[in-house]
Amino acid sequence: MPDANGHTASEIMTIAAARRLRNGSVCFVGIGLPSAAANLARLTHAPEVVLIYESGPIGAKPSVLPLSIGDGELSETADAVVPIPEMFSYWLQAGRIDVGFLGAAQIDRFANINSTVIGDYRKPRTRLPGAGGAPEIAAFSKEVLIVLRHDKRAFVENLDFVTSPGYFDGGGTRERMGLPGKGPTAVITDLGILKPDAATKELTLASLHPGVSVQQVVEATGWPLKIAPKVETTAAPTAAELATLRDLNARTARAHAGQA
């Protein structure tokens, strides 16, 4: 439901994420919001973005969003389709990905993320799907974007489980651990955008979405959130962005309906 600003929380997250993809960049795309953002970028300012889905398609150009990571639409529209062992070795591990997109259930101040369990690993309160491709996307993409909803259950002081590394305990640790990619460059939420501090790598509020206050973000964060000296305001979605995204979502909903 669009709020007073004329867009939903999902829409502003998707649009803010899409804007960060440069035309021609090679993007490793997860299902859900990352896939929506990457395809929105492709349908707006970045027609030459190369979308790679971990199931094998390289250069997918789906007309509707896939429900699964390997829908037929992806391989039918791809430039190439490769086996899984090749995808993870020759493409991801080899450092050919410019931007890796990740979601998470929990994130900490150094952008380490948990998508494995809530509670104790051996006696979990909630068992989540687990790592999938995330640890290696986080390690080997030249840059990582993280997208998730902003609340205190997600933005926590301590992760229950580290599924994928961000900046470890901050500073130069990530580099010392030998990870080639530069790590998460932005965490895009429904409230704003956090970016790592250049030196400490602690996530810092860098941009507020239209109509959101600093106080709201601070209250939705489970640690004392650092605020950038100059917090920007995310440009409101343009009519074209909103229309393209809503078209895409409508086409997708029609395509995934039907009898089970």
Partner: protein
Amino acid sequence: MPWLATVLSLAEAVREYVRDGATLALEGFTHLIPFAAGHEIARQGRRDLTLIRMTPDVIYDQLIGAGCARKIVFSWAGNPGVGSLHRLRDAVENGWPGPLELEEHAHAGMAAAYAAGAASLPFGLLRGYIGSDLPKYNPRIKFVECPFTGEPLAAVPAIRPDVAIIHAQRADRRGNVMMWGVVGVQKEAVLAAQRSIVTVEEIVDQLDAPPNAPANAMVLPGWAVTAVCEVKGGAFPSYAQGYYARNNAFYKRWDAISRERGSFQAWLHRHVLATKDFEGFRKSLESAANA
């Protein structure tokens, strides 16, 4: 001709090759998931299975809920694009219908482990798992040192299932199997296993790569496959590129079917256990939908 794959019915193949306590890999990455074979395993009441699969989605949710599984080896366990696997969660969180042991990896590690199995290497080598807690909980993830550079690299033991089961688009009468589109780790699973069962959409006289298919077809020679079974639609609700699309609506509906033990059991009994084969299952589903 013992050197060629035997063409037989899926029920016979499961009876012959899938034993209680076996280690199985049912592979198919979103595409070509061997649902018919999974159902037949449940129907024949196999127990204590170790079930390997990168993405134990709805197919393993069904087998876990049906009480077939003792352990799963996996790297991502969800209903893609929909949410949780409720039967798997119930087993992990509450031990229902029995305890379920987990051996958990990341995709990169599973892929390397399958490739190592196919190549008869004792372990798969990768850059991976750095900064993840997974190695703390899975002692089967280790690290080795590069003899040239001294770098640490992750090592995972090769996957060597007793039986691999996959679904493919086509086979010829000699058991040569052809697939295309998202081919996942299916070839690796078959080559890593002691035995393999391949269900196919159709058995044809002559294998040709179809026009308009992604240019990535592969053929598994019949002598490298144990059994081939023709099961039309055998990947439903997954898909078979060139034959039928993914039934995304079923995946969404699975969330409601599987959420409660009772509704799951009713579904399983009515549509899987009480039907004779996959065709029976499909008809049973249809008649329920039309009722």
